[in-house]
């Protein structure tokens, strides 16, 4: 049976079948997409940014800048040593601190502290920063990323949990301009 407009019964059924498959495909795409995008949507979960201890205050003598480590708050058992993150702690004057991300603000390479010249230098493309984290020279567009910190019962805590990158600077981390916001003293 062919209708005058060329639509056959079997052809029509095939189109219904395709439509059916399309609908099922769309329904399946929703959970698949949610699964694939889970690293992004998990942003709201607590733990991406938590208060973490860097250790007792006496590890960070006044006027000095020391390397510290913490274990990332969100982690899996198979992360191995990648869950350990380093950062630079500067004890400005015994009361004020600055905690810098290890990652260069240019492309994320680990910056090194040179106490003699009071500079951070990056081994990748030669970015350099002053002791307060502000940009000294080289390709970085800004100063080092800084973690919010607080002092609680003799311990230095920072709020961290996410790789600092230039594009994320606006949300949680701050540039190392030397000005201190977010700072609480409970110790």
């Amino acid at each position: 049976m062919t209708r005058p407009d060329g639509v056959t019964r079997r052809g029509f059924l095939m189109k219904i079948g395709l439509l059916f498959n399309g609908a099922v495909g769309m329904a399946l795409a929703v959970p698949v997409l949610r699964y694939v995008l889970s690293p992004v949507s998990r942003q709201q979960k607590s733990g991406y940014d938590s208060w973490l201890s860097l250790g007792a205050l006496d590890q960070f003598p006044a006027g000095q800048t020391r390397l510290a480590k913490y274990r990332n708050p969100v982690m899996n058992s198979w992360d191995g040593e990648t869950a350990d993150i380093a950062c630079w702690v500067r004890n400005v004057d015994g009361e004020k601190f600055q905690v810098f991300a290890i990652n260069c603000a240019h492309l994320g390479c680990p910056v090194r502290w040179f106490a003699q010249s009071n500079l951070f230098m990056c081994p990748c493309h030669g970015g350099a920063y002053y002791q307060d984290g502000s940009r000294a020279s080289g390709p970085p567009e800004r100063g080092l990323f800084e973690y919010p910190y607080k002092v609680e019962s003799g311990r230095l805590l920072i709020q961290a949990g996410e790789l600092p990158t230039p594009g994320r600077a606006a949300s949680g981390l701050r540039g190392g301009s030397g000005c201190v916001q977010f700072v609480q003293f409970n110790g």
């Binding site: 191995g80 680990p110 003699q116 990748c124 594009g167």
Partner: protein, 487 residues
């Protein structure tokens, strides 16, 4: 005789069921232009051979490799040192990767020079551009699977670049890393990309690419003056293969086979003599005594990243690759007709030369990283003795300041030290004492200001030392107005 008949019967049994014999015979016997049975036409088949070789060696590595951030590095060590010939399989896969990229690039240049992207082979070229991108993707993801310090910080560089995409940046970073930091989830997804996603796409696209080469015929040898026109090309090509064609097998393919064998042998020789790549140091982010660096084929990008002015960097990083890919994709549509011969296409030749020189220069710079401070120059590279002989105690003190304050990390003396800043061997000829003081204290011209880090005494000593840095026969720079002003 009976054996031959048995084989014949067996093959007939299969062909009756597979129905492939005729198409295979057609492919083998199809005529190709006589001049294309040339050593210039062997790179495509060699790329295919190396691709298959990479699949085989990749599967062999997957028998042992553990795609877990906590264990990957250890499993690579096991492959290198404990499993019999594990190092050799790793070396084959690593060198195979380098050869594959090199051959794909050579193939692309040859196709470009021979005008093979022109009508009717535009789509073959476009599929080829995607194959190049996938090959680069394989190289990058493969470098990540060699989960060492370079892989870890390389991912950080990738994350930093992706984060600069407007609006979507932070989300892209998390998607790339599989979470908030570089960790187990990151390696797992790069494993999935390297082992399933990209190879699957590569297989499909390679199939398409080869199918089009067979259907449309091998590009004829370009003759100056033989112009490609859409209206007549296909007819002319078939006339050419009919009058001056040779069967693909064996007339053309024997060179492909010999060259492929030569390439596989070269990979094996490199693997035996030069061994596997890494892994480098453990992927422990708290070990910061490291200077991360990408593999050879990405060094040029690494170099570009150090030369872009900060303000232009993000737009160039994000828009540059898009423009580059669009240009490659648009090429067959812009120049789909006309001359094929490189002898009549001077601009094409210049473009390739320019690209080769640029990539070569940037790669060379990427190997030497003159823009990076030499992190240990201040403590490991002494000032040449002749710069210290017969100097005053104050100048000696200045030399000490020069070392202790890490000036040597960025400035070279007698060829040692960093190349980030200018060499200071003759700095006294360029700058007067006043200018030296100003430069040290205020910095500028990409030098940090040392005003807060040097005491006045240290500054005086340092500048006194710098004033001695000039060839013995030449007088140091001086401010001519000074003597007048002080009179």
């Amino acid at each position: 005789m009976r054996a031959v008949r048995a084989i014949q019967r067996l093959s007939e049994w299969f062909d009756q069921r597979l129905q492939l014999g005729r198409s295979i015979r057609e492919v083998m016997e199809h005529p190709v232009p006589r001049q294309t049975a040339s050593w210039w036409y062997v790179f495509g088949s060699a790329a295919l051979t190396v691709f298959l070789f990479q699949i085989v060696t990749g599967i062999l590595l997957a028998l042992v490799y553990v795609p877990s951030a906590g264990e990957a590095w250890n499993s690579l060590q096991t492959l290198n040192h404990e499993i019999a010939l594990g190092w050799f399989i790793r070396a084959l896969h690593g060198w195979g990767s380098n050869f594959m990229l090199a051959i794909v690039l050579i193939h692309m240049v040859q196709v470009f020079f021979f005008g093979a992207y022109k009508f009717p082979r535009e789509l073959t070229w476009i599929v080829g551009v995607f194959l190049l991108l996938m090959t680069l993707g394989m190289a990058f993801t493969g470098q990540v699977l060699r989960f060492d310090q370079d892989a870890y910080w390389g991912l950080g560089i990738g994350a930093s670049i992706s984060s600069r995409v407007p609006m979507l940046g932070p989300a892209l970073v998390k998607l790339l890393l599989g979470g908030p930091i570089i960790a187990g989830a990151t390696l797992s997804r790069f494993f999935a990309l390297h082992v399933f996603v990209i190879p699957g796409l590569l297989l499909a696209f390679v199939g398409l690419h080869v199918l089009m080469v067979l259907k449309l015929g091998v590009n004829e040898w370009p003759m100056p003056g033989r112009i490609v026109r859409r209206a007549t090309y296909v007819r002319e090509y078939h006339e050419l293969t009919a009058t001056d064609g040779v069967p693909f097998v064996p007339n053309a393919i024997w060179k492909d086979i010999v060259f492929s064998g030569f390439i596989l042998l070269s990979i094996a020789v490199c693997a035996v003599l030069l061994g596997p790549f890494g892994p480098g140091g453990q992927p422990d982010p708290t070990i910061i005594q490291t200077a991360p660096r990408p593999d050879a084929f990405f060094l040029w990008i690494y170099a570009v990243l150090s030369f872009l002015p900060p303000a232009a960097e993000t737009p160039i990083l994000l828009i540059g690759p898009v423009i580059g890919i669009l240009v490659l994709l648009a090429l067959p549509f812009v120049a789909g007709e006309g001359e094929k011969s490189w002898k009549r296409r001077p601009i094409a030749v210049l473009v390739i030369l320019l690209a080769a020189v640029a990539l070569g220069t940037l790669t060379h710079l990427g190997e030497h990283t003159p823009w990076s401070p030499v992190m240990d120059a201040w403590s490991s590279q002494p000032i040449p003795a002749e710069y210290l002989k017969g100097r005053t105690p104050l100048e000696h003190q200045g030399a000490l300041v020069f070392q202790a304050k890490q000036c040597h990390n960025c400035h070279s003396l007698g060829g040692d030290g960093g190349k980030r800043g200018p060499s200071l061997d003759q700095v006294a000829l360029r700058l007067t004492p006043d200018q030296l003081i100003r430069q040290v204290i205020q910095g500028g011209g990409n030098m940090p200001a040392y005003g807060k880090n040097l005491s006045p005494a240290e500054t005086v000593a340092l500048v006194k030392f710098l004033e001695t840095l000039h060839p013995s026969g030449l007088a140091p720079a001086r401010d001519a107005s000074r003597s007048v002003a002080l009179r």
